[in-house]
Amino acid sequence: MSTRFVPDQRVRIADRDAPGHVRTPVYVRGKEGRIERVLPRFLNPEREAYGVNEGGEVRLYRVRIEQSALWPDYDGPADDVLELEIYEHWLEQVDDRSGAEGR
């Protein structure tokens, strides 16, 4: 029942192809953001969609991504953000000490 990530931690959303009922939109794959909040564990929809509806619960997080990190030509204020839900197995650790791209 571990929680791998904590609020405000910097994370990267995995950039991989995955067939089936995947809830990670393509437009955020490979993008970096921060954990906005930790949500409960839910059945993995990638398995549930194929009838595996017990066990296999995975932690869900809300991730906040700066719009300018999503769209290089975003023309709104730098504070504008997008938030969405990402399952733990789609999140990767980012070395926060580098401070790269972060604020």
Binding site: P25, L39, L70, W71, G76, D80, L82, E85
Partner: protein, 224 residues
């Protein structure tokens, strides 16, 4: 569907017609059924199989449709009006939306969890589901067609400010926009700001200011 009774342009008393652009009250109510597509056939086959095997009953299917139709934006409007008038309730609503709507008496029939997003002078929230049509159905009913359209789903995350301007909503540059992609298990309801000049209004009068679109975040409530 247009309804002559709502237009006020057709007098059924003496059957006067002829208002330009008014709907024809004698128009057929139902046009010929279109050919079912692949998914219509698939849906019907699965439903009939489930009923034949005794896993669900036809009455349960009917009752679910009735439940879906019974949940309307008015529930969300009443909820927001309560939050505007009861600070303790508002606090509970923002802390745990699911528990608060159940406390308010709304049947959370689909078992989803609700996050309530507060509009403030500094932050404007906007809700979209880029993957399909996830929507807080227990509090708002079925989503409008535009919410499910590809242009809305794509532009809400790509250029929210331009999209909002087309809805008549000009969000100032010093207000942060937070777009919420409702892509997995949670559902989102926007809690709009109470307009100025509404101090004397009753909860019921306040609810009338809270339209569906204000709770999606594409517009804001107006003073009466």
């Amino acid at each position: 569907m247009t309804n002559a009774h709502e237009t006020g342009t057709v007098d059924h008393g003496d059957h006067t017609h002829g208002t330009p652009g008014a709907p024809d009250p004698h128009a057929p109510i139902e046009t010929a059924a279109e050919e079912p597509d692949y998914f219509d056939v698939l849906h019907q086959a699965i439903r009939e199989l489930l009923v034949d095997k005794g896993l669900i009953t036809a009455d349960e299917v009917r009752a679910m449709v009735e439940t879906l139709d019974a949940h309307r934006p008015a529930l969300g409007s009443a909820l927001v009006a309560r939050a505007w008038t009861d600070p303790d309730f508002k606090e509970r609503l923002l802390a745990d939306g699911t528990a608060a709507i159940e406390e308010f008496g709304i049947d959370n029939y689909d078992g989803t969890r609700l996050i309530v997003l507060e509009q403030t002078p500094e932050v404007h929230n906007l809700v979209v589901c880029t993957l399909c049509s996830c929507y807080p159905r227990p509090v708002l009913g079925l989503p409008p067609d535009w919410y499910k359209s590809r242009p809305y789903r794509a532009r809400a995350v790509r250029e929210p400010r331009a999209l909002l301007r087309e809805f008549g909503t000009d969000v100032p540059q010093d207000v942060t926009i937070r777009v919420h992609d409702s892509n997995a298990n949670m559902r989102y309801l926007v809690l709009p700001m109470r307009p100025a000049g509404t101090e004397g209004l009753s909860e019921e009068e306040l609810a009338a200011l809270v339209t569906r679109d204000t709770m999606i975040g594409v517009t804001t409530p107006r003073s009466p």
